[in-house]
């Protein structure tokens, strides 16, 4: 069973360490922590931007080069219970009809994009502040740059 499934069932791990009262700081260790977290955040980059080729076109439109297609949620049919699940016909991929996405899965998709965006911002901001606290300003700058990236850009942008 994947870990996320176990977490969905039991709520996930709760134990978490607490820092000591002593005012000591091992700067290199804190810096290593900030670097490791930054490397982890960078792993999300393919999810966040469509790669662009040199001529400015979206490289993601080529076959095999696409990041996760966050914007392609399925339709489950034009009748209940399908329309309650997701993507009313004439939804996001029909330009002539801007009918709102009304299904549960569409709402979840919005939630997920919003949460990932917030996650990236919180994570990047946290790493930047951690790096600043040990005066690693370049590292902080690098982390701040990542907080500006959007979760994903639509095809037509």
């Amino acid at each position: 069973m994947p870990e996320w499934r176990a977490w969905a069932l039991d709520g996930g791990p709760t134990s978490w360490p607490e820092a000591l009262d002593s005012l000591e700081i091992d700067r290199s260790a804190v810096r290593d922590v900030a670097r490791a977290l930054l490397a982890d955040l960078e792993a999300y980059t393919p999810l966040r931007v469509w790669p662009r080729s040199e001529d400015g076109y979206l490289a993601g439109l080529e076959e095999g080069a696409e990041p996760a297609r966050l914007l392609d949620m399925p339709r489950f049919g034009e009748f209940p219970p399908g329309i309650d699940l997701g993507n009313f016909p004439g939804g996001p991929r029909n330009d002539f009809n801007d009918f709102a996405n009304i299904g549960a899965v569409n709402h979840f998709h919005d939630f997920m994009v919003l949460s990932l965006e917030q996650f990236f911002k919180s994570y990047a901001s946290y790493i930047a502040r951690l790096a600043q606290s040990v005066e690693e300003y370049e590292l902080a700058e690098e982390a701040s740059t990542l907080s500006d990236l959007e979760v994903i850009q639509k095809d037509d942008e």
């Binding site: 499934r5 700081i25 922590v33 977290l37 966050l70 034009e78 009748f79 919003l114 911002k121 946290y126």
Partner: protein
């Protein structure tokens, strides 16, 4: 301070209109709405979307294990109030990522299951199987054809009046279908209406159609295919409801403030 994102699953309605699923005229997809309904479901996209969500959840799991390990290192390497706050905030972030990974993975798994395991069985299945051009039992009265033409019975010397109709082919038009039925009467299998009504397809024949069958305005093949399509669609709806039930009721994430 935290920033909250939340999702609450909305309700789901039963497909009350299933029995009204109609026979559709047309050269292609002739039969009923089943094909149109199936085509409006994006099963392949469901498969790929589900897998994409699962891979996002897996990435979030990686983050949780990284944060867990580094959080311990941070707590060991740094002490004091500022350190306590930093470690606590990282714990809040980890909790939010755990919530998000659990929700994204669960939804992804459900969508993938529907797209890859359920949908193909329905997309490929043909509905309704009955020999071509049968007639209803009440239309078959032995050789008591209502044709008024006289029939020269070549077997009259045997003493049996084996047929009363001069034509071996007799055209019928069923109002509730697009089928002109041409049938040589004695060669056609007979469908018993009561068998249909009492079979597992029975609940999927609506009152209008029952009346049309009694009035000889609906042919057996169309009635069977429509009812079979409805039953098939009813099963598919059951899987959709199962998918809906599998999705978490809500997902709430509290991320640390990015200010």
């Amino acid at each position: 301070m935290t920033k909250q994102t939340a999702w609450y699953k909305n309700g789901i309605r039963p497909d009350d209109a299933l029995l009204e699923m109609r026979f559709a005229l047309g050269y292609e997809k002739r039969g009923n709405e089943y094909h149109a309904r199936i085509e409006s479901i994006e099963g392949e996209i469901a498969g790929t979307s589900g897998r994409a969500l699962i891979s996002i959840a897996d990435t979030l799991v990686e983050t949780v294990s990284t944060v867990t390990a580094r959080g311990q290192e941070l707590a060991d390497a740094w002490g004091g109030d500022a350190a306590k706050e930093a470690v606590r905030e990282l714990g809040v972030l980890r909790k939010a990522v755990i919530e998000l990974a659990a929700a994204v993975g669960t939804v992804g798994e459900g969508i993938r299951w529907f797209g890859e395991e359920v949908y193909p069985c329905f997309a490929d299945a043909s509905v309704g199987s009955l020999i071509e051009d049968p007639i209803w039992d009440h239309e078959f009265g032995g050789n008591n054809c209502d044709c008024s033409l006289l029939y020269a019975n070549p077997l009259s010397w045997t003493g049996f009046d084996s047929a009363t109709c001069i034509r071996q082919e007799h055209e019928y038009y069923y109002e509730h279908s697009d089928r002109w039925i041409t049938h040589p009467r004695d060669a056609i299998p007979v469908v018993n209406r009561e068998d249909l009504y009492s079979s597992e397809l029975g609940p999927f024949v609506n009152e209008t159609e029952r009346q049309a069958i009694e009035d000889r305005r609906l042919d057996p093949l169309t009635a069977y295919k429509t009812a079979a399509a409805r039953r098939q669609m009813d099963r598919l709806n059951g899987y959709l409801e199962e998918l809906h039930g599998f999705l978490p009721a809500k997902a709430i994430c509290h991320f640390p403030d990015d200010a």
